[in-house]
Symmetry: C2
Subunit: 266 residues, 2 copies
């Protein structure tokens, strides 16, 4: 046993040694790795069984649990933070039982052969910063059209017009058609000129007012004057804000999607 705190490694421990080490580590709220031959039973809303095989089990400080196989980036079994753990050596197997109350869920991981147990006190206060792509900004606008302006409504996106594809296409609160061009970095004169081309292309086809809005975190010096000359608008939008909106939308449940869908059809 190599014990250089805050980092413990047990190589090829017995079931009993592993149970003792994991019990101690859980009570100390350490991050735990268990590698070995295991099988898993899950029951909750649904239920699942994973037959024996060698895998990596991770228990985190916050009581979340992951079982990873040797392939695939997704865990085969997992539980969100807040599990209560019951660990015991029983019939020559190590049983790690993770329980949640609401919703009631139970994951039991049984190990019969253990290659390694490691307990870690990870020090980590580093910040994670995500910078959105233009595509992400577009998706955020599709989810929340008011990011462009109050009362803005979508008609389409990636609409093909003569010089290329319009990022977002809609109508404003007064019924004018609106062409939106998105840039994830400081927008220059080229972005303003590109938007003007799209606006002109659409104007030539419809007998209706067409506005152009350039959406970007900010614009380069002098671009405001060009936008004014071309009668185009600018809307400042932070890509980071878009990333946040997308992140929230991705964690929305399938249920939300159905509820929305149903209210339209019922």
């Amino acid at each position: 046993m190599l014990n250089s705190k805050p980092f413990t490694v047990l190589v090829k421990p017995s079931v009993k040694e592993a149970a003792n080490a994991i019990n101690a580590a859980v009570s100390q709220r350490r991050t735990i790795l268990v590698i070995g031959d295991c099988w898993v039973h899950y029951s909750g809303r649904a239920s699942s069984k994973l037959e024996p095989g060698e895998r990596i089990l991770i228990i985190k400080e916050d009581g979340s649990l992951l079982v990873h196989r040797s392939v695939g980036y997704e865990p085969v079994n997992w539980q969100p933070p807040g599990c209560i753990f019951h660990i015991q050596a029983k019939d020559n197997a190590l049983e790690i039982h993770a329980v949640r109350r609401k919703p009631a869920e139970s994951v039991k991981v049984f190990f019969d052969e253990i290659h390694m147990v490691s307990a870690l006190s990870l020090v980590d206060s580093g910040e994670f910063s995500l910078y959105a792509s233009e595509e992400d900004m577009q998706k955020a606008i599709l989810l929340e059209p008011s990011l462009v302006e109050e009362g803005f409504k979508l008609i389409s996106y990636e609409k093909k017009v003569e010089p290329g594809f319009v990022d977002v296409y809609g109508v404003d609160k007064d019924g004018n058609l609106v062409v939106v061009e998105i840039k994830r970095k400081t927008a220059g004169n080229d972005a303003a000129l590109q938007l003007a081309k799209y606006v002109d292309a659409i104007k030539s086809k419809v007998n209706r007012e067409v506005r152009g809005i350039l959406v970007a975190p900010n614009i380069a010096k002098g671009v405001q004057r060009l936008l004014a000359t071309l009668q185009l608008d600018f809307k400042a939008l932070d890509p980071q804000k878009c990333a946040g909106i997308l992140k929230r939308s991705k964690t929305r449940k399938l249920e939300t999607f159905f509820k929305k869908d149903c209210s339209e059809n019922c």
Copy 2:
């Protein structure tokens, strides 16, 4: 260094020792764990930065990559299978560079202090079986109404009627109203009687034909006779099949959702 193949552990290796061990393990397509102080740069469609802190890096046999912090069940950075890895010791830091071509993405993980490197040849052919819940069966039917019968169309779900909530409510190809009751296990007489109550409750309110369909993996002995008496139908549906449908739907991209959405509005 403890080297009991197919399982290698290096505790507190130097940057150079770690680079050599990881290079060897990547070429042997082993699963690799690296624990230590690291920072991460990602660039691709979007970009992100993760400031220094102690984390767990997992590289899998299939070339997928995960960076896990001490809290949260989701990885902070990840790449799907198929990455190409470039590993080097550079300026007293270990650089692990994972590259993908389509779409072009790059994740660089830099370690300056390494607690442990472990290389594993995990033997795992165990099957994973997921058994769906009633809620999952319902969701699968909402996604694919034809699971109930050809031509079935949804009106609503969890519709409140006098005795409780109807699981799924729709119309058949002949325009009859249909009440669907779902059971995840063998359905008994109680399920048939429950469905009959819902059908009667709706019949009392509408001037239209109302059918009842019991959906379950199978029915208990004698239930078929009761169903016939009550003029109700039975449709066999495998919960496992529903789980598969849901799994596929969850991996569909946000984009698909928007494309569908747009085709309705445009």
